[in-house]
């Protein structure tokens, strides 16, 4: 009897296999090469994440030098140099915003460095009192890039007025200290994260490459999750909210990222391109290596009669084109020409559906830790 049941199963399986394979057309090619997930992670880790953190670190060093120079001799030349260094550093940050897992998650980099809009009243009271701790959760909106954006572009109507705040104002010395304190804070956080990734430091790169499964804690899972989260944090707070998407169409220009320096659209575009680069596996130097697009192409994930990887690539291109068309300052554009912003917003939404729905589904990546017995 025992043999009978084994025999039963065997016959059924072989039978069904023969049946199935004869039904299937023979176009499924044999011996396809396996996709090297570890290779993809190695590429993204070594050629994108680490060099981008290095680049951010350098940009922040330059920012810090500019702050020191300005504080030593506050004049218009140094102010303008500092403003430029700030814009460069902010852009460098947008590229790294998507890597909010591992060390960055531990330092809560995204929240600590870029919670906007800045809370101006509290910043000013911090400056006046000259006692504050950036580790205090109440100070989340008084530090990072948004606070510096205000301090360098928003404290006066023009650069002369801004300069006066650092030279002749009663709180001038305190304000210079505050500027330095923010610079130190940002630098400190980023250097901690950078060290944690570095092979000579915490060597998180090794952990990243070797967590090559598909569960929630895996590098692929984290990458896909963060890619989506970062994308949503770009689409809604940076474009949607200023455009009035959550306030019955009434624009909220002051809620834009980098409201004072007026480089909001440029920052959003930088971030979108950074997300695209992760998807493509494109390195910091611009070389297209193994990325999520290659993985999707390998899996032959379909979409609308074509390939999902192509659909996503094309939608990235469309969304980037539309976002490029949005002129800065975004705070004026959402009021003068909301249609052009809306056009970009619509394309971003289409891209979000592909990234959030189709991609994780095709990759078999899980989004939550909870038990799951089917969808």
């Amino acid at each position: 009897m025992r043999y009978k049941i084994i025999l039963f199963f065997l016959i059924l399986f072989t039978g069904s296999l023969i049946f199935v394979s004869s039904c299937k057309k023979k176009n499924e090619e044999e011996n396809k090469p396996e996709f090297d997930r570890k290779g993809m992670l190695t590429n993204i880790g070594n050629n994108s994440i680490i060099p981008n953190y290095e680049k951010l670190k350098t940009a922040l060093q330059e920012l810090d030098t500019a702050v020191t120079a300005f504080n030593a001799s506050p004049d218009l030349t140094n102010l303008s140099a500092l403003q430029n260094a700030f814009k460069e550093a902010y852009k460098a940050w947008e590229i790294n915003s998507v890597f909010e897992f591992g060390p960055a998650e531990q330092e809560m980099l995204r929240a600590n460095l870029n919670t906007f809009p800045a809370y101006v009243v509290k910043i000013e009271s911090n400056i006046t009192s000259n006692t504050y701790s950036f580790d205090d959760p109440d100070n989340i909106t008084t530090k990072g890039f948004p606070a510096m954006d205000y301090l360098l572009f928003g404290v006066g109507a023009d650069n002369n007025a801004i300069l006066a705040k650092y030279t002749t104002d009663t709180d001038a010395a305190n304000r210079r200290n505050y500027l330095q304190a923010i610079s130190n804070y940002i630098r400190g956080k980023v250097e901690t994260v950078n060290n944690a990734w570095s092979p000579s430091g915490g060597n998180y790169i090794n952990t990243f490459i070797n967590a090559s499964g598909t569960d929630v804690g895996s590098s692929l899972g984290q990458l896909v999750n963060q890619l989506n989260q970062d994308f949503e944090m770009m689409r809604t707070p940076k474009i949607g909210i200023p455009l009035g998407k959550q306030t019955l169409g009434s624009p909220l220009p002051a809620k834009a990222e980098a409201y004072y320096s007026g480089i909001s659209a440029e920052l959003a575009l930088t971030q979108l391109k950074a997300i695209e680069n992760i998807f493509l596996g494109r390195s910091e130097a611009g070389v297209d290596g193994s990325g999520l697009d290659d993985y999707l192409a390998y899996l032959k994930a379909p979409y609308n009669g074509g390939q999902l990887s192509d659909a996503i690539k094309n939608q990235f291109t469309t969304a980037i084109t539309k976002l490029q068309a949005v002129p800065d300052p975004l705070s004026s554009t959402v009021q003068n020409n909301p249609a052009i912003v809306d056009a970009a917003y619509i394309e971003l939404q289409k891209l979000l559906v592909l990234l959030k729905t189709d991609m994780p589904s095709a990759l078999g990546v899980l989004i939550t830790y909870q038990d799951n017995d089917g969808d």
Partner: protein, 466 residues
């Protein structure tokens, strides 16, 4: 009395005679101990994973079941107490102390917790609920239990065979319906969703590279279907039982390895042991004998469990009704139009496990009809990631969330908000497409058991109209 009536009476007598046929209580005792132990472990795991907080304290909004909207969570202290009671009662069930009270408590509290939020629905939670319900009806504490030490007169050695039978029948139903659910085109002919899920594990040691092969996905699909449809019969047959049980272990361990399905495989592995003979269970329980022996000098005296025929009749009615429901409920989906996996009308409580890969994104819009202006909702302001994921693909939950938004925006000052949803869903790797009619004002739609006309039909070949 005619001959036929006589025959009929004799026939009925025979069935009753068969159902009342005395068998050893050992398998039932085993079931009680195993169930209590596995539940105790599950509850502890649930608490340690931080899920009490994540699932029942932190969410701002819950998705109750239709007709159970009054079931609400109890706040932090309340929910931790609830899980504390669950832990203690499962332990008491295992020990057989104040059994009827503890198993009834467990059933009520566990079912209460499951009714709070349907985004946490799992087939095995439903399974736990109904097994604990069945356990209320049976004397599982009347041997090898602290109750029999407390009150030696409770001790019995035999029970009528139907008591073991109802648990076997329940297991057979679970397996058969899980098998029937797999008899669909995607599962059998396309090897979906396994074709998507298995390659994701291609980096596993030893078998990893196999999982990338297409034929393996087909093999697993067909194996799974044949396994579910045949295993109950091999388990019922004494001769094939032990080898079938090896398949049970292999099958469930394989699912545990590939999928994040929590305790389900282990619960099934343990519960399937009910099919084994009384001798097998008696032997296993004999290690406990030493503890109980001194208290139970009448161990060898055969005593049969019996309840009055009046109570018997009530039990018979309850169980007939119960099993009728068990048999019919999974087929209720036939009453609804459209592609079933797409609409999911009548999907739950039907032993459909790991059957499809579905994902979605839903954008909700609230419109003020007075001004015609609208705003977009940020779902994660109100929902946890898991709730958002579950809601995006299930129409009844989309409707519930829309109603929640209606109340929310009324409070924000919009008198009669219009709620629309633009939702895109992908099913088994076919490109995402519109799921719900985005022109429907969901604030005006009511939940009911009737088909939901605002679910767009799933068009196999038509690309999404984005």
């Amino acid at each position: 009395m005619t001959a036929i009536e006589n025959l009929r009476k004799g026939y009925r007598k025979n069935i009753i005679h068969y159902l009342e046929h005395p068998v050893s209580i050992a398998p039932l005792v085993f079931l009680r101990i195993a169930f209590g132990a596995v539940m105790f472990f599950s509850i502890i795991r649930f608490i340690l994973n931080g899920w009490v907080e994540e699932l029942y304290i932190l969410p701002k909004f819950y998705f109750p079941y239709y007709g159970f909207e009054w079931v609400q969570p109890l706040g932090e202290t309340g929910m931790y107490s609830v899980f504390g009671i669950l832990g203690v009662s499962s332990l008491l069930v295992m020990l057989g102390l104040f059994y009827r009270v503890s198993i009834t408590t467990f059933f009520i509290i566990f079912t209460y917790v499951e009714l709070i939020d349907k985004s946490n629905y799992l087939n095995h939670y439903y399974f736990v609920s109904i097994i604990s319900f069945l356990l209320i009806l049976v004397p599982a504490h009347r041997s090898f239990s602290i109750d029999t030490i407390r009150k030696p007169s409770l001790k019995i050695t035999s029970i009528p065979v139907w008591i073991i039978g109802i648990f076997k029948l329940q297991m057979v139903i679970v397996y058969l319906y899980a098998g029937i659910a797999k008899l669909n085109y995607d599962w059998l002919m396309e090897a979906l969703p396994l074709k998507i899920w298995l390659p994701a594990h291609a980096d596993m040691p030893v078998i990893g590279s196999l999982l990338d092969e297409l034929w393996v996905a087909y093999f697993f699909s067909w194996f799974g279907a044949v396994y579910d449809l045949t295993i109950p019969f091999f388990l019922l047959n004494r001769k094939t039982r032990s080898i079938a049980y090896i398949f049970v272990i292999i099958f469930h361990l394989a699912t545990a390895l590939f999928f994040q399905i929590g305790m389900f495989p282990y619960i099934m592995i343990v519960m399937t042991l009910i099919f084994f003979s009384e001798g097998f269970h008696y032997k296993n329980l004999s290690c406990l004998k030493a503890i109980f022996k001194s208290y139970q000098p009448q161990d060898d005296v055969l005593s049969l469990y019996s309840i009055g025929s009046y109570k018997n009749r009530i039990l018979l009615i309850i169980l007939s009704f119960y099993f009728l429901l068990q048999v019919l409920v999974p087929f209720r989906f036939l009453l609804y139009p459209g592609k079933f996996f797409w609409t999911e009308q009548g999907y739950r409580f039907s032993w459909r496990v790991m059957l499809m890969e579905k994902g979605g994104t839903a954008f909700f819009y609230v419109k003020d009809p007075e001004t015609g202006k609208q705003c977009e909702v940020t779902n994660c302001d109100y929902l946890t990631p898991n709730q958002e994921k579950m809601m995006s693909t299930q129409p009844d939950m989309i409707l519930q969330f829309a109603h929640f938004l209606k109340e929310e925006y009324k409070r924000k000052g919009i008198k009669d908000p219009v709620i629309n949803v633009e939702s895109y869903v992908t099913l088994n790797g076919r490109g995402s497409r519109l799921f719900i009619d985005s022109n429907t004002d969901l604030s005006k739609e009511e939940e009911s058991f009737l088909p939901k006309s605002w679910i767009l039909p799933f068009n196999e070949n038509k690309p999404s109209d984005k």
